[in-house]
Amino acid sequence: MKKEKVTTATQIRRVIAYIVLVIITILCLFWFYILFINSTRSHAELTKGFTLLPSSFIAKNLGNVLLHGTLPIARGMLNSLLISASSAILTTYFSAMTAFAIHAYRFRGRKAIFTFILAIMMIPTQVTSLGFVRLMTSMNLMDNFIPLIVPSIAAPVVFFYMKQSMDATLPASLMEAARIDGASEVRIFNTIVIPLMKPAIAVQAIFAFVSTWNNYFLPALILHKDYMKTLPILIAQLRAADFLKFDMGQVYATIAFSIFPVIVVYLLLSKYIVGGTTAGAVKG
């Protein structure tokens, strides 16, 4: 009797869970659907109102943007890919290295350094942007990808996550064994630590890739030459076009076009989010 009661309760909870999950799924995917629909519509159709049915202008919109436009969208995609991929790789690799330094070695000032890194996590990027732009100007790095890629090496938030997950997954004994085998510290890090950290790296790589891909604030301050610009800047420029050229169809087509690579990257790496998070878990 008692046992049956529990199952019905669980049954009800399960039904509620499914209903909520379905609603949330719709809320999450709805936007992709309207972006797709809107990218198939012409500017005139878009200004006339909203619909849930696709139209037939997607090829024309994309053609207008990619072939006849004055903005180098394809080049922008390449720029965005280069910056986002480099940032994702650098930020995960070097944050893991920094975390490893704190996690695996006992040196003087270790605790202080750890606290210090946590403290600088609180500096908002925009706060230093004015000084950043001035410095880059004087270093002759305007219209250059370096100011957008290299700073990702020092990412306290990623570091913190890596540190937490190392605490949970990286026993000291492993390193001892490797050292006995005569492996150098660099080798240990590259061949033992990095592979073990794969799930955590994947999760942070997705976060880093996506946020760099969609970043507008800093790239807009650094990149001014058209062929250097990233997709978000180009999209903003399309949106800013005035009455002569203003074409929401093109804007939506470009947005749809620019979301595509992130979705691919996300789906490729998402198995770590979906399945493997235990390994990268933060210990309670």
């Binding site: 200004t47 006339k48 800013a240 005035d242």
Partner: protein, 474 residues
């Protein structure tokens, strides 16, 4: 009313003839491009330096001027969407949108460095809008047209207001435009019939000839289910053109009585449900381009009619030729593009020739008017157009059609010319763009009942000082 207009037209015509005749004396055979080039090099007193540049850099915020050059400057050969050639000179177009001040920021960075820039990177020419033209005109970064060999005589057929906008504090003209963007009221003929019982431009004009009558018509329109305008911002420029003092004098911001009139009249109309507070260019604003949008009238110049009212879309009022045009309560202007030569250009003669050809050559201007339906900056050409029989060209998917089609057969050039000749733009300042933007944004709060008038003004003052810290407010 009609009679007065006819008289003015004939006066304008007479004036134009004199100008044309005077012009003919100097010019023998003006077949655009080539012809004027010869003249500018042979007769100008102040001869600019030799052209040495291999690249002509032109800074623009949209593709309008580029397409004018492509279509009407004979020597220009298109290479790509952002590049062309004139002789052996490569023409490079840099397009930076105006939004968020990006276009001006770009110029502000480039122009001060222009003297030191390498030959191929030097800005040779750039475009300006009326709202901020003075900022560049009053600086050393723009060249006097007289230094380029363009004389007052060359510009005599242009409308005075287009020259006022680009005249610096010492009286030098430092830019030139091919457009006269005088504007008027573009009304929905169907709505006019329903509300006023007529769609005749003169009769409609009578019903909106001043702001009191305009308000009465707004009430009648409301009764028939029409909004008089799509948004309060439609009429803003009508009031702001006719101010008695600039936004800023001696670094102090003040709100002109006529701007205050806009606020008061708009507030009443919003409260009566006769208009809305939507932003210009928003979807809510453009709803009235279609019959279901139920908007009585928009306010704007020829370019609004031609490019922005969805004439190539089936079912739009413009597509069916359902608009009419009249002067409205007060004459005003909106937009316009001025060409300036950048100090330090290494192609002064070419720049001079382009400016001269595109803004003073009557044949070219007539061609622009015929092909692109621009309201061109030539008193004589507009006078010709006013009496010409302009063919109705039906809009298609790729062509907006001719202005006479959109206006249901009406030829608006008499009204446009009349408006342009009456404009007086002595009251502009370099801060107009920022002030206009911030004022409209701040007043929306008042119209929406989110703030009292005083509070909205306080927000405007705050925003202006954030943009221009050197200014003070009340």
């Amino acid at each position: 009313m009609k009679r007065r207009m006819k008289m003015l037209t004939s006066l304008a015509l007479a004036g134009a003839m004199v100008v044309t005749m005077a012009g003919c004396g100097g010019k023998s055979n003006t077949s655009s491009g080539q012809g004027t080039k010869e003249k500018s090099t042979s007769t100008s007193q102040a001869k600019p330096a030799e052209d040495t540049g291999k690249v002509l850099n032109i800074q623009v915020w949209n593709e309008e001027f580029k397409s004018r050059i492509e279509n009407h400057y004979k020597d220009y050969q298109k290479v790509s969407d952002t590049e062309g050639k004139i002789g052996d000179v490569t023409v490079k177009w840099t397009i930076t949108p105006s939004k968020d001040n990006a276009y001006q920021n770009n110029l502000d960075t480039l122009l001060p460095k222009n003297a030191d820039a390498s030959a191929d990177d030097k800005v040779d020419m750039f475009l300006m809008e009326a709202d901020y033209a003075l900022k560049y005109v009053n600086s050393d970064y723009t060249m006097k047209l007289s230094d380029l060999g363009i004389t007052d005589d060359d510009l005599s057929d242009q409308y005075q207001y287009t020259k006022d906008i680009v005249t610096d504090k010492d009286g030098n003209i430092k830019g030139s435009s091919w457009q006269a963007c005088s504007a008027g009221m573009i009304y929905n003929r169907e709505a006019a019939k329903a509300v006023l019982g007529t769609d005749d431009p003169d009769k409609v004009q009578e019903a909106v000839s001043d702001w009191d009558k305009f308000s009465e018509t707004a009430k009648k329109a409301k009764d028939k289910g029409y909004k008089i305008t799509s948004t309060v911002n439609d009429t803003y420029r009508v009031y702001s053109t006719n101010v008695s003092a600039p936004w800023v004098t001696d670094n102090k911001v003040s709100i002109d009585p006529n701007i205050k009139n806009w606020v008061d009249n708009s507030k009443k109309m919003v409260e009566a449900g006769e208009t809305t507070t939507a932003d210009l260019w928003s979807d809510d604003w453009s709803k009235g381009f279609y019959p279901e949008g139920k908007v009585f009238a928009y306010f704007g110049p020829a370019w609004l009619i031609n490019f922005s009212m969805a004439s190539s879309t089936d079912g739009s009022i413009a597509n069916k030729g359902g608009w009419g045009f009249c002067v409205g309560p007060q004459s005003f202007y909106w937009g316009g593009t001025w060409i300036a030569a950048a100090t330090g250009t290494d192609n002064p003669n070419l720049v001079a020739n382009i400016i001269k050809t595109m803004t003073t050559d009557k044949d070219v201007l007539r061609e622009i008017a015929d092909k692109d339906s621009d309201c061109v900056n030539s008193q004589s050409v507009l006078a010709d157009l006013a009496s010409a029989d302009i063919p109705k060209r039906k809009p298609t998917k790729d062509d907006g059609g001719s202005i006479t089609w959109i206006l249901g057969g009406q030829n608006p050039y008499a009204q446009l010319a009349e408006g342009a000749s009456k404009l007086d733009l002595k009251n502009i300042s370099i801060y107009d763009q920022g002030c206009t933007e911030e004022f409209q944004a701040a007043m929306k709060n008042y119209f929406d009942d989110n703030a009292s008038y005083d509070k909205a003004v306080a927000q405007f003052n705050k925003a202006v000082v954030e943009k221009y810290p050197e200014l003070s407010t009340d």
